[in-house]
């Protein structure tokens, strides 16, 4: 079943063409990544999806709402971790107490047991990110939108968080759309990857990642993953030049 389908989505900011016709689809229970160079318009695409801005083109979404996890964790420093986790449920109209009861059992799985009453400032970067993901998934929306969720973390923490997220995804099979510019992250987590060009963004390649999970298990798997990574890097770096050349022409 197709959860989300975009056909030829375009977006201009004045004279600046940001999205030059993006077509993609995400199936139920599928983990899909959008991979592209910085400034390609990935975040613009997410803003289109969450309805923050409008563009041209066709969007079909089979569901009520996206659960959106922003780039930085966006935890409210004035709410305790558990009250940050319940935020989405409270906005949906649930009473605070009922929301807390629904969220509390999930803390152990997210590695946050014992930190329910802590303030976000007392958590490490990785824990904050897990709390943000917890806040996102408890909303029980039909699809997760993850906007470079680990971009602000140090390399080691990011690697640990990617592995952790893969495990979580294997257990829950959320339908998820991830935006990233980290090729390794995309290959580790995704079933399929859409590779975007530099601005104006279009899909230059759709890459399937047919590797079994967990993908960090064996050396053989790691080699296969590395081969896919190398292929994608070639596409990205190869595409960067011919695309950036004519953009000078546009300015004329």
């Amino acid at each position: 079943m197709t959860r989300l389908e975009l056909r030829n989505m375009r977006k201009n900011f004045g004279a600046l063409e940001v999205l030059a016709g993006i077509s993609l689809h995400v199936e139920e229970g599928e983990f899909v990544s959008i991979l592209g160079p910085s400034g390609a318009g990935k975040s613009t695409l997410f803003q289109l999806l969450t309805g923050a801005i409008r563009g041209e083109g066709e969007m079909r979404f089979d569901g009520a709402r996206f659960a959106f996890m922003p780039q930085r964790d966006a935890l409210m420093p004035w709410r305790r971790v558990i009250d940050n986790a319940t935020l989405g449920l409270e906005v949906q109209g649930l009473k605070r107490r009922a929301a807390r009861e629904r969220v509390a059992p999930l803390f152990a799985e997210f590695g946050l047991a014992g930190f329910e009453r802590a303030w976000p400032a007392e958590l490490s970067g990785g824990m904050r990110q897990r709390a943000a993901l917890l806040r996102t998934v408890v909303q029980q929306c039909d699809m997760l939108l993850l906007d470079e969720p680990f971009g602000a973390l140090d390399a080691l923490t990011r690697a640990a968080m990617q592995r952790w997220l893969e495990t979580m995804w294997r257990n829950h099979r959320w339908t998820a759309l991830l935006i990233t510019h980290d090729v390794r992250e995309a290959v580790l987590l995704s079933d399929r990857i859409y590779v975007l060009s530099a601005r104006p963004a279009r899909v230059v390649r759709e890459v399937a990642v047919p590797l079994p999970r967990p993908r960090t298990k064996s050396a053989a798997l790691a080699r296969e993953a590395a081969a896919i990574e190398a292929g994608i890097l070639d596409i990205l770096l190869g595409a960067a030049e011919p695309i950036s050349q004519p953009s000078d022409g546009e300015n004329r």
Binding site: M76, V91, G111, Q129, T157, T167
Partner: protein, 270 residues
Amino acid sequence: MAVISTVAKIFPAAVAFALLLLIWELCARLGGIAPTVLPAPSRVLAQAWENRAALADNTLPTMRATLAGFACSLVAAFILSALVDFFAPLRRALFPLLIASQTLPLVAIAPLVVLWFGFGLLPKILLVALVTFFPMMVALVEGYAATAQEISQMLAAMGAGRRRIFWLARSPSALPYFFAGLRISITYAVVGAIFAEYAGAAKGLGIYMLSAKNNFRPDLVLAAVAVSSALTLTLFGLAVLAQRLAMPWENAKSDRAGRYGDKPSGEGRP
């Protein structure tokens, strides 16, 4: 530990203050200056004790005017700042007026307000509100604007409306700004009340100072000054205390390392 560090923090200020009093005492005693010109601190203290009933009697109305005026100003600042946050054009309409209100010399405006509203509590409340309103209003409006964009965006994506976002995100974001404004404006409050009483009142520290001056009693003027300073410092301390109580997460930040340490993020992974 906390007591020791607090003592260590205020020690230099206490020494400087004591030194100042000592020099003053010596000048007054050894310089042969008449007590009707420069009374020694010891004399001010003694006279303050002797006149404690009259001083207390006059402190109470000042305190009442200060607190009532400040409370009015607080409520007005919150309501107006929220309105300005929702209707941007209102900001452009109001801010020039508010800034102009801060250019009025209190010496000139205080007698006029007393002339218009009499010798009762009302003109004092108005003057205290006039001097304390602006810093809090500005602090609140800037505080709302300081809300992290990703928090607002996330709430909007969750389906929260503008009012919801104001209560959930914008008003808590303004808290640190609000308390900064509160600490500034609270130091003006007592001075505002005294100015109002100076211009005309039945009782109060302002009128007490005026009559003491007219009776050539600078010691009593200074005693009243000391009382008003103490009042201001108490209010300031209360504001700091209120901030601590209202923003417990700010304290958590500073002793984060002590309480939990920086756990490796892979910890607790299933």
